[in-house]
C-alpha cells in the first residue's frame, strides 16, 4: 500500500543534503489540534456561550435583553475563550487542506477548501462572538440595539452558508478524483448531505419560528446531527491518513 502512496504523490525526495531521520511528530502535533479544537469548540459553545442549543428567534426585544442578562457571565467567559482558541479552526482546516494536497486530484480543490474555510471563520464563528460580547459588555445598552445584536449574531453563526458549502463541495470533488484514497469515497458522498443541509438552512433567513427557524428541527437540529457525524468521520479518516503518510514525505508542489 505505502508503495502506491509514495509513487503517486507523497514521495518527492526531500532535499539531498544529509538530515535527521524522518519523523512524523510534526504531523501528529497538528493532527491532535483537530480533535482538541473541536472538543473545546463544543464545550464553549454549548456550556458557556449558549449558542448551541440556539436561543429562540421568536421572542420580544425585552426577552432578548433578559436572555443576555441572565447568561451574561457564561457568554463573556465563553467568547473570551473563543478569542484565544479559534485559531485552532484555521489549523484544523489547514491540515485537511494539507492532506487534500497529497491526493492525486491536483492542488486546485485543496486550495479552494482552505480559502473557503478560512473566509468562513469570520462570518461563521467570530461575528457571533463579537455581537454577543458587545451586547453583554453594556447591560444598559439601548434594548433595540441589543436585540439587533442578538439577531445579527445568531443569523451570522447559523446562516453563513456559502463559505462552508463551497468548502464541502471542494472536499467532495477532490476525494472523487483521488486515487490515493486519502479519504474514502463515501465521505465525498456524505459531504453532499452537508451541502443539502446548508441549502435547507437558507430558510432560516425567512422564517422566525417553526422547523425552518434558526433553532428549528430541520434547519438546525437535523443539520447539526449530520454535521456532527460528518465532522467525526473527517477526524477519524484524518487520523488514518496521518497513519499512512510515509515519514519524511511531503505533498507535491
Amino acid at each position: 500500500m505505502s508503495a502506491t502512496v509514495v509513487a503517486a504523490s507523497g514521495g518527492e525526495p526531500v532535499g539531498t543534503e544529509p538530515r535527521a531521520p524522518a519523523s512524523k511528530r510534526d504531523l501528529w502535533i497538528v493532527f491532535w489540534i483537530f480533535p482538541t479544537f473541536f472538543g473545546l469548540f463544543g464545550v464553549i459553545f454549548v456550556l458557556l456561550a449558549r449558542v448551541i442549543p440556539p436561543p429562540r428567534p421568536d421572542v420580544t426585544t425585552d426577552q432578548k435583553v433578559q436572555w443576555f442578562a441572565s447568561h451574561a457571565t457564561t457568554i463573556q467567559i465563553g467568547f473570551a475563550a473563543v478569542c484565544v482558541v479559534f485559531g485552532g479552526a484555521a489549523i484544523a482546516n489547514g491540515y485537511v487542506a494539507y492532506q487534500m494536497k497529497r491526493m492525486t486530484s491536483g492542488p486546485t480543490f485543496a486550495y479552494a477548501y482552505m480559502g473557503a474555510m478560512a473566509v468562513g471563520t469570520l462570518p461563521g464563528l467570530l461575528l457571533v462572538a463579537l455581537c454577543f460580547s458587545a451586547a453583554t459588555f453594556r447591560p444598559d445598552r439601548e434594548p433595540r440595539i441589543s436585540a439587533m445584536l442578538y439577531d445579527l449574531g445568531m443569523l451570522s453563526f447559523n446562516g453563513s452558508l456559502g463559505c462552508f458549502a463551497t468548502g464541502y463541495l471542494a472536499f467532495a470533488i477532490a476525494i472523487l478524483y483521488d486515487k490515493n484514497q486519502i479519504f474514502p469515497k463515501w465521505l465525498a458522498y456524505v459531504s453532499i448531505w452537508q451541502i443539502v443541509t446548508e441549502v435547507i438552512a437558507t430558510q432560516m433567513w425567512v422564517s422566525s419560528a417553526g422547523p425552518y427557524a434558526w433553532n428549528g428541527s430541520i434547519a438546525f437540529w437535523l443539520a447539526v446531527i449530520v454535521f456532527g457525524f460528518w465532522l467525526n468521520c473527517q477526524g477519524i479518516f484524518l487520523k488514518f491518513a496521518t497513519d499512512r503518510q510515509p515519514a519524511g514525505s511531503r505533498p507535491a508542489d
Partner: protein
C-alpha cells in the same frame, strides 16, 4: 428481450451473475449504499418532522394541500417511475454486455429525469404566480422537500451522464459502475414516491 446476441462476458460479469443467483450480490458498491442509506435516513427525518408539524394543524395543511395539482403530481410520478424502468433495464443490458442498448436505455432514463425537472419547474412557477409562497408552512415544506429532491434529480442526471461516458469507453465500462449510478437513481425515485404520498395524496 434483446435483439443482439450478447458478446463475451468478462470474468467480473459472470461473477456478478453467479452471486446474483445465489442472492449475495451487492449492487454497485458499499460506498454508494452508505450514501443511499444515510440519505434515506436524513430524508426520513424530514418526513417525520413534516408529519409532526402537520399533526399540529391538520386542517390548515389539508386546505393548503388542495392547491396542489394532483394531475401534475401523478404525471411526474409516472415520468420518474418510467425513468427508473429505463435505468433498471440498462443495468440488465450492461450485465449482458450489450452496451449499446444500455447506453440507449440510460439516455431514455436521463430524458425522463430532465422532463421531471421541467414539469417541476412549471409547477413551481404556477404556484408562485398564484401566490403560494414559502410564507405558508405547508408550502414551505413543499418547496423545501421538492427543492432538495430536485437537487438530487439534477445530481442524478449528472451521474447518469458519467455512467454513459464510462460505458462508451471500452476500457472503462464496468457493470458495478452502472449499478452505482442506478442505485442512486432509484433512490431518487423512492424518495419521490414518499413525497408524492405525503404532500399530494394523504388527507
Amino acid at each position: 428481450m434483446t435483439n443482439t446476441e450478447p458478446t463475451a462476458l468478462t470474468a467480473e460479469q459472470t461473477d456478478h451473475a453467479d452471486r446474483r443467483q445465489r442472492g449475495t450480490h451487492l449492487p454497485g458498491d458499499g460506498h454508494m449504499w452508505l450514501m443511499v442509506l444515510g440519505d434515506l435516513i436524513i430524508f426520513g427525518g424530514y418526513f417525520i418532522v413534516y408529519m409532526v408539524q402537520r399533526a399540529m394543524a391538520p386542517a390548515a395543511y389539508l386546505q393548503a394541500q388542495q392547491h396542489l395539482s394532483i394531475t401534475i403530481g401523478v404525471l411526474n410520478t409516472v415520468v420518474l417511475v418510467t425513468s427508473s424502468w429505463f435505468v433498471a433495464q440498462a443495468v440488465r443490458a450492461a450485465a449482458d454486455a450489450d452496451y449499446e442498448r444500455a447506453v440507449r436505455l440510460i439516455y431514455g432514463g436521463g430524458a425522463c429525469g430532465v422532463l421531471f425537472i421541467g414539469v417541476k419547474a412549471y409547477e413551481w412557477t404556477m404556484k408562485i404566480t398564484q401566490g403560494y409562497t414559502n410564507s405558508n408552512e405547508f408550502f414551505m415544506f413543499y418547496y423545501m422537500l421538492t427543492g432538495v429532491h430536485m437537487f438530487h434529480v439534477a445530481l442524478g442526471v449528472l451521474i447518469l451522464g458519467i455512467v454513459v461516458r464510462e460505458l462508451r469507453n471500452p476500457r472503462r465500462r464496468r457493470p458495478s459502475m452502472v449499478e452505482q449510478g442506478a442505485t442512486y437513481w432509484h433512490m431518487v425515485d423512492l424518495l419521490w414516491l414518499v413525497i408524492f404520498g405525503l404532500l399530494y395524496v394523504m388527507r
